[in-house]
């Protein structure tokens, strides 16, 4: 429910064309405030009360919450839409790995290492999980604190401290408060006693209710105490409840502008599913359905990769096509007799071509020409894949230094650029029109390579 400039102007001093805010009139200042281009404190004549009111009205419908510190910190929240096609989702959910203080030393060490080292290169990005969630399960406070100390020493990942026992929770917090951990859970039972403790060393807190509705008085109370770094857990017991609860929270925040629910969420499939694959499937629902943090009991290469790729897919901005960097890519291990192909730089195009080439088991150079993230045919129609520009790219990309032959394969869909491309390359390269679809490469490429070598 964004506030408009004309609503804001009523709250400004008016009749005081002081221009001290840098704008000619209060109205101009109000308009800029509404669009987020300036902050309230630029006006020196606002009462403290009005200022607070305005800041609150101008705040995004969902709070941005930061967990952790330094370069590994995680930001969640600040989302503006319910469906990604309305604009885009902004802050991908943090994936957390649960470590219980009941787990063996070896297991703990393995998990700390796993979070650090399990990373995947994916279209020029590095995909990895984000947080460690430390779970007080043993009942032995000293044991849990020892775990917290160990993780504090050995990992720089943001932490979630999970303890039903308040005393233990805050003792653990005291060990790592400078790392800005998330404390979980604050509930209706411990909130009164908890508020002064939280305020001692403010860090984000996760609140848990038995339903969405139960969260409302809790966030209201925290806000009154000045605590707004809050993450919500509506206590969903299974995937279907999670869809409902997450949807209600998102709708209330975005569509109703309902402040008490304007916070990111945390979901714990680690306590929902017992079977490893099922837990990952539950996490997959939560990636689609708005969760801000997802805590997993464990993951492996085979389960973390699809989870992270899904997160990337869902949080990709639908307004801009995914593009890959302009350069030649080596598929398998090409040598100086390997074929050279050229295509456009829409990530999907590149993926299809490189995986089709890989499937043929023929090593090759795939030259990716910057076409502003468009597919081959669209790029050609938009003038981003003309014979001239493809020729200029082939010359400068350096693939010519890697091969002894001068044979270039172009996509079948742009067969028409052949002549122009030959001219642009001063007839030094022989242009072959490849298949129209990448599926055609299966037959085409091995035969072509055979000729190239023979």
């Amino acid at each position: 429910m964004p506030i408009s400039g004309s609503q804001i102007v009523k709250m400004l001093p008016g009749r005081r064309p002081c221009k001290e805010c840098g704008f000619p009139t209060c109205f101009a200042f109000a308009m800029k405030l509404a669009s987020g281009g300036v902050t309230v404190d630029k006006c020196p004549y606002l009462s403290e009360e009005t200022k607070i009111k305005l800041i609150d009205l101008l705040a995004p419908p969902m709070k941005l919450v930061t967990i952790g510190s330094g370069e590994n910190k995680l930001e969640i929240g600040n989302e503006e839409v319910v469906y990604r096609h309305e604009k885009t989702f902004v802050h991908p959910p943090g994936i957390a790995l649960l470590i219980s203080d009941k787990e063996s030393e070896a297991k703990v060490a393995e998990k700390i290492k796993k979070l650090k080292e399990l990373q995947f290169p994916w279209v020029g990005l590095t995909l990895k999980a984000d947080l460690l969630a430390l779970y007080f399960e043993s009942g032995d406070k000293d044991k849990f604190l020892a775990l917290v100390k160990k993780v504090y020493r050995e990992s720089s990942a943001p932490m979630i401290l999970i303890s039903e026992d308040m005393d233990t929770l805050f003792s653990a917090r005291d060990i790592c408060a400078d790392r800005n951990p998330l404390l979980y859970p604050i509930t209706k039972k411990n909130i009164e006693a908890g508020i002064p403790k939280i305020k001692e060393k403010p860090t984000p807190v996760g609140i848990r209710g038995g339903s969405v509705e139960e969260l409302v008085p809790l966030t209201t109370k925290l806000k009154e105490a000045g605590i707004e770094d809050v993450v919500l857990d509506p206590g969903s017991k299974n995937s279907m409840e999670a869809i409902r609860d997450q949807t209600f929270i998102r709708r209330a925040a975005i569509k109703q502008g309902f402040r008490p629910l304007g916070y990111p969420t945390i979901a714990l499939p680690c306590f929902m599913a017992k079977d490893g694959l099922k837990e990952i499937m539950a996490a997959s629902i939560l990636i689609n359905k708005f969760a801000g943090i997802i805590v997993l009991s464990d993951f492996h290469q085979y389960s973390l990769l699809p989870t992270l790729v899904q997160r990337l897919n869902i949080y990709t901005d639908p307004r801009f096509p995914m593009a890959v960097e302009e350069k030649y890519y080596e598929v398998l291990e090409p040598d100086e007799y390997s074929p050279v192909l050229v295509t456009s730089n829409w990530a999907l195009t590149y993926f299809l071509v490189s995986s089709a080439v890989e499937a043929t088991k023929v090593p090759a150079y795939v030259c990716v020409k910057d076409s502003e993230g468009l597919g081959v045919l669209t790029a050609w129609a938009a003038g981003k894949f003309s014979g001239d520009s493809v020729g200029a790219f082939i010359k400068k990309c350096g693939v010519a230094d890697r091969v002894k032959h001068r044979k270039l394969i172009i996509p079948g869909k742009v067969a028409r650029i052949k002549g122009e491309l030959e001219d642009a390359l001063n007839l030094e390269w022989e242009i072959t029109v490849g298949p129209k679809e990448t599926t055609g490469l299966g037959k085409f490429l091995p035969a072509f390579t055979e000729k190239l070598k023979g």
Binding site: R244, M281, V309
Partner: protein, 305 residues
Amino acid sequence: MEYRAPIESYSGVVREITIGKGEKALKIGGENILPFHFFDEGSLPNPPIFALEVWDMEPTDWPEWLLEPFKDVVSDPIKWAKRCENFGANAISFYLTSTDPATKDSSADEAAALTKNVAEAITIPLIVYGSGDDKKDAEVLPKVAEVCDGMNLLIGPVLKENYEVVGKAILAHGHLAIAQTPLDINLLKELNVKLCHFFPAERIVIDPLSSALGYGMEYSFTLIERVKQIGIIVKDSMTQMPMIANLGGECWKTKQAKESKEQGLLWEGITALSLLLAGANILILRHPEALRLIKETIGGEIWQK
């Protein structure tokens, strides 16, 4: 501030379609809520259904863990289809792969006779996919429709290149059409409009093309989500058909699915679950364990709603 549960209701309804005849008949669509929004006002009378793939020839490029559940029956589509039925599939999706001029180029007559045998051998509805070669499909699919006259099969892909000849045969012999367009809402509506000049809208299922996780899944996800919303919220009659997500083949073709069994199952499972949440009414899968995983994840309760 008082909390009011943000419940929504809409006035558009997805068309309800029945696939198969008699005891095999299965309904899809009919919902006036968005996918999995059981908490909103309205209903989803027919939960999404899951089909498993069967081919008319032995697959050559399936990883061993995908072939494993079927390896003794892949040379016999009838046994293969019955096996899938036992695995809990709600329907069989039968691929006439061998008719593709790039594979065996087998004849329309052969394909039609085999399709009929498969359809008669199973007790669940049959979905039939041609090779996707628009010219060959224009021969094969009308023949399939004719030989399987009156069996109310779901047949496709009906493409902009062959919708007239394929669509007319499907209609004349009492079947349903899968209208397929490449990942674009305008192309999708345009084909439905053209088809509806002579073909009843209540006999069409939309195939918006499904991409695998990591290979453009977000495009399929958002397209399906938008088509569903435009049908239910905006009430555009050309998007109020049920949707089919034909994703199994796309997933198992990826390098990642071929790396390990678990990764393959999750690749297919997560893609399916995402497209299900976006609004697909029929999902076509390859691996029975992925099917089980999804059914267990979404739980039993939705099937009663």
